[in-house]
Amino acid sequence: MKGIITVIGKDRVGIIAKVCVYLSDNGANILDISQTIVGGYFNMMMIADLSGAEKKFEELAAELEILGNEIGVVIKLQHEDIFNVMHRI
């Protein structure tokens, strides 16, 4: 199962580090990552394989949201299917 992680917020030191540490602690394998910084705003997209994760998807999404609140950015984890159904026939 693949998840899409998006991070949006004001740039600061250690955003990627925090997210990656959380993902590796929870058995998620990062497949792709891209980021842009425009006018001091950080925008990251990550595709991760979550099949090795022990926690439920909803739980991971909730914990990432909390992590985002701690470091002052918005972190979303969404199942990749929502993007596939919307943009692929």
Binding site: I4, E58, Q78, E80, D81, I82, F83, V85
Partner: protein, 452 residues
């Protein structure tokens, strides 16, 4: 693999344009609860609903987390009570409404629909008991929704029922006079009602349905408006294409959520209803789409054509996206639940007569319209008869959800709160139709109903 652009587009629809799954509605058949004893029936119905929908709310919330798209409402529809409870020996179904209300509260859904009767051709004893119980039932319960199907293209219009509807609407307006006659907001009169509609107040679980079913309603007027902003000044072909593409994307999200809900709950999937259903939230308005198409206000000349374009292309996009598009699917045009509709009514751009014309081409009918509390019963019946005629002749679903707000008149405003919003009291034609309504009987179906 999905691209960054696609991810951003989807998330902008959710975050900025209010894309959401409006409702996951579980249909529950109550026909197997039949009992001659009213209390036993109520107990069986309560037990069946609370067991079947035990995990409905939690599942909806979990799916919202999984896909990052809000699932706003979780609801239940049941077999029309006039059918399910017809074996009961009683002269009032109010206790049934109370049992439904408490079942809804136990499982945490915000509305339960199906306190309903289908009387397009005539009323059974049970239908009469139900209709007589509606005013009290809606004033003593909080979450129960009620509907009556009074006409169909196949059967014509039951004018005895239409006459009675005017009376009970006034009754329930009086019984909830302290709350701006809010009971009327939970009651709708239909022509050609549909069995799998997941939206309230008109949802019920049809007798042609299986025991349990999951129907999903998706919405997103804000998303359609945003996409039309990109094609300002373009011709109608471009407008239609844009609405269609957007409707496709929205419906696919609904389909995904419906299949996931069906899998998690172990209940078969029924239909997706893609209805542009506005809410009082900013940027969640159908009237703003009409303005984006080029109208100064909803109600201006051109409005009926604009609604027709919108409704048809929402259907076309939706049909491409899911094999099981059902329910209403189109554009709802409630007044009180749509900020730009409220403004249009307040400034005089939108009249009751123009709204009636719009209902010929929208997905349902006159919806959430507040009128003076002293409007005669027969005038309300006349408004309903007109709407039933539009549905019957055009082979479409039409409905009336009208609120004669007790003690208020033109210039006042009714406040219903929450999703039901607020409504300016609209002017009603002051000429009477008593003798017409008092004729009684049934209007025969139109010639084009004989398609066999």
């Amino acid at each position: 693999m999905v691209t960054n652009f696609e991810i951003q587009e989807t998330n902008r629809m959710i975050d900025e344009a209010n894309l959401d799954v409006r409702t996951i509605t579980m249909g529950i058949s109550l026909t197997d609860c039949a009992d001659s004893d009213l209390n036993s029936f109520c107990r069986k119905a309560y037990d069946k609903i609370t067991k079947a929908a035990e995990n409905l709310v939690k599942t909806g919330d979990d799916i919202a987390r999984q896909f990052g798209v809000p699932v706003v409402n979780k609801r239940i529809s049941v077999t029309p009570i006039s059918i399910a409870a017809s074996a009961c020996r009683t002269d009032s179904y109010v206790p049934v409404a109370e049992a439904l209300d408490s079942a809804a509260k136990t499982v945490g859904v915000n509305f339960i629909g199906g306190f309903s009767a289908l009387v397009q051709k005539g009323s059974s004893q049970s239908d009469t008991v139900l209709i007589n119980s509606i005013p009290e039932a809606l004033s003593v319960t909080e979450r129960v929704c009620s509907s009556v199907n009074a006409a169909s293209t196949k059967n014509g219009i039951n004018m005895n029922a239409v006459k009675r509807m005017g009376q009970i609407i006034k009754e329930m307006a009086f019984l909830t006079k302290e709350k701006d006659s809010v009971a009327c907001a939970k009651f709708v009169v239909f022509c050609n009602s549909v069995e799998d509609n997941p939206f309230m107040a008109g949802a019920y679980h049809g007798v042609g349905e299986r025991d349990l079913v999951i129907n999903v309603g998706v919405s997103g007027p804000g998303v359609v408006k945003r996409s039309l902003e990109q094609v300002r000044g373009a011709d109608f072909e471009t407008v239609c294409e844009t609405v269609k593409r957007t409707a496709f994307k929205i419906t696919r999200v609904g389909q995904l959520v419906a299949l996931e809900a069906s899998k998690r709950l172990g209940v078969p999937f029924g239909i997706i209803d893609l209805s542009l259903a506005p809410t009082p939230a900013m940027g969640d308005s159908v009237a703003e789409i009409l303005q984006e198409m080029g109208l100064e206000r909803a109600g201006a000349p051109g409005t009926t054509a604009a609604v027709a374009i919108l409704n048809d292309n929402v259907k076309k996009g939706g049909i491409m996206a899911s094999s099981y598009v059902g329910g209403m699917s189109g554009a709802f045009i409630p007044v009180s639940e749509d900020n730009a509709m409220i403004e249009a009514a307040e400034c005089g751009a939108l009249t009751l007569e123009k709204l009636e014309a719009m209902t010929c081409v929208c997905s349902v009918g006159l919806d959430m319209v507040a009128i003076p509390g002293d409007t005669p019963d027969s005038t309300i019946s006349g408004i309903i008869a007109d709407e039933m005629a539009i549905g019957m002749i055009n082979g479409k679903t039409t409905a009336v959800r009208i609120i004669p707000v007790y003690g208020k008149t033109v210039g006042d405003e009714a406040l219903f709160g929450g999703l039901l919003g607020r409504a300016p009291i609209m002017q009603v034609n002051r000429f009477g139709c008593d003798d017409f309504i008092n004729r009684g009987g049934r209007i025969p179906p139109p010639v084009h109903s004989f398609r066999n």
